[in-house]
Subunit: 396 residues, 2 copies
Amino acid sequence: MKFTPPPASLRSPLIIPEKIMMGPGPSNCSKRVLTAMTNTVLSNFHAELFRTMDEVKDGLRYIFQTENRATMCVSGSAHAGMEAMLSNLLEDGDRVLIAVNGIWAERAVEMSTRYGADVRTIEGPPDRPFSLETLAKAIELHQPKCLFLTHGDSSSGLLQPLEGVGQICHQHDCLLIVDAVASLCGVPFYMDKWEIDAVYTGAQKVLGAPPGITPISLSTKALDVIRNRRTKSKVFYWDLLLLGNYWGCYDEPKRYHHTVASNLIFALREALAQIAEEGLETQIKRRMECAQILYDGLGKMGLEIFVKDPRHRLPTVTGIMIPKGVDWWKVSQYAMNNYSLEVQGGLGPTFGKAWRVGIMGECSTVQKIQFYLYGLKESLKATHPDYVFEESNGFH
Amino acid sequence: MKFTPPPASLRSPLIIPEKIMMGPGPSNCSKRVLTAMTNTVLSNFHAELFRTMDEVKDGLRYIFQTENRATMCVSGSAHAGMEAMLSNLLEDGDRVLIAVNGIWAERAVEMSTRYGADVRTIEGPPDRPFSLETLAKAIELHQPKCLFLTHGDSSSGLLQPLEGVGQICHQHDCLLIVDAVASLCGVPFYMDKWEIDAVYTGAQKVLGAPPGITPISLSTKALDVIRNRRTKSKVFYWDLLLLGNYWGCYDEPKRYHHTVASNLIFALREALAQIAEEGLETQIKRRMECAQILYDGLGKMGLEIFVKDPRHRLPTVTGIMIPKGVDWWKVSQYAMNNYSLEVQGGLGPTFGKAWRVGIMGECSTVQKIQFYLYGLKESLKATHPDYVFEESNGFH
């Protein structure tokens, strides 16, 4: 036996600083959630793991407001949740209509194309939702098998109303797939009442759990479509018939599918327990109040919001327009170096145009919002001494 | 806002008992590894995350014994590692040869078939490796683009020698894909010297990290094949050109791909640091010594090993034949209930025929092996009073 020597880089200790993660996710987790991960890793058929998975399913049905049995987690990031839905619901040549006004819908286009679907799109500006009329017309025109909509777009901070969309879809024998990664638990969401067929959300966003595991839910309609596929879905890892079996969704004896990330399941369980203890209504109201305080504070500093119409703002993610003459990166760096505060830049439609602030996880308190406003102000002041902190200051 | 009430099941506290995880993985993690997960979740472009990822890459190159730049992690279980390799290296109609003698090769057949590959197999018994001659003949016959081999099969405890296979593959313009999920860090492995083109391993196995993240590495040859694909790989989530870019493998500016599981990366970093501190050679010798003590102890109890020829045994997973008249499940239950000890049953070829014991992670000490032997003996005694603890006891 002879080996090359071990790398020097691993000799120093792992030091990860505490940071206030107020970008559009991942957000900060509570100590309770983080500590849950230090439990013993469990193997696939241990009773305590199955019991915890059942509790996670209960919690997910609550936050999705659904009775869907096919409610489970994909072992991967929210992108994996998106792919799981598209790869299960689409077969070669199936038509999917994607409403594109932000980066996540663009990803859905990319994924669906790779899976061989017939991809149709409607495009809209990143700061205005699609109207029911626009969606209805597009569905009539394209007659797709599925419509893909982003509920809350973390690249812009836009909120897409969903009421009525499911009903229109179902009049045209179309399934409704919704990306609720950045919105769930920040605004009301009713999977069953709104007739949504497939949804996924981000653990590391509003829920306040760590990334790497993604909650999903499927309606009976969507499950029927999957059960009646002409071909097996292309990806074994997120075959929702096999995965749902392992998660105990289908009244069948459980079979091994893959080794789930038990410690992420423990953490997610605790995040869901915290939501259940506080109650969805209180959580959502709290985030909406935080958002209002943020908007008011930004206004007083002469800062504008990317989504102009307050009705279309996602409370959990706000795009803050970068004033004329301001170097956004300098401000972000200053905030991180001096306040351990994440003042994150834009992505997709907001790249170089806006910062993005998240009201998610543990960062959804008035105290944290005030600290963000303070940190942003001080960082702007320090890096741009000429900036005037007044409404209508001419910097936009 | 009106919601259904929160589920009652989330009202009770999360209680996960301590267990001695001596099945074929997941194994127990060290406190240091588990505690690493309680660090702040980091966002995608934080310097500390990139630095930790670089350290992980250094550690992985060390344990794979490679200089491959395309060394990174897939955000998913080891199954995701397998799919990442197959979906990137195979296009519709591409021929892959899979050497099947255990459950992992069967999975590779299933996955490759779903991806539309032309799948050829050679089959062998689960307790005997493929010879170089058999493999060479099959490669000559089928002329595949890739050969898939399992290095250490956790369903049987079989070790497949790899020396010379890469050279044969490359004489026939074939890439060698190796599943090293259960073997890496338990037996010598030389990716570069043995000319292996694609490998993945399990974080939660010998390495002693939690599940949910999977180390992989690609040779220059394999990377060239991916770069020259006629079509994009089907799965965006594990497109290794995009993922490798984000992991900083290709000398390009880094682009966002998906939100990595930062806390699993922290844990894996610490597991790799522990391996680097002890050294590969010492680790492997320790596990081989543990295996010898296990074999001797089992022999004295009249228990036989699934893989008869000691040269073909994987030291990290041992199949223990269930003696005639013994109810394996009763023994396993007794061991768990009385000793918090996992005495796991079989899978695939060993299902109902053998227990499987792992020498992985924190369970690779003489003390743990002695405890396993003790726990197994006491459990057998308690549940089967007639069993005779002697060599050649007629129970096989």
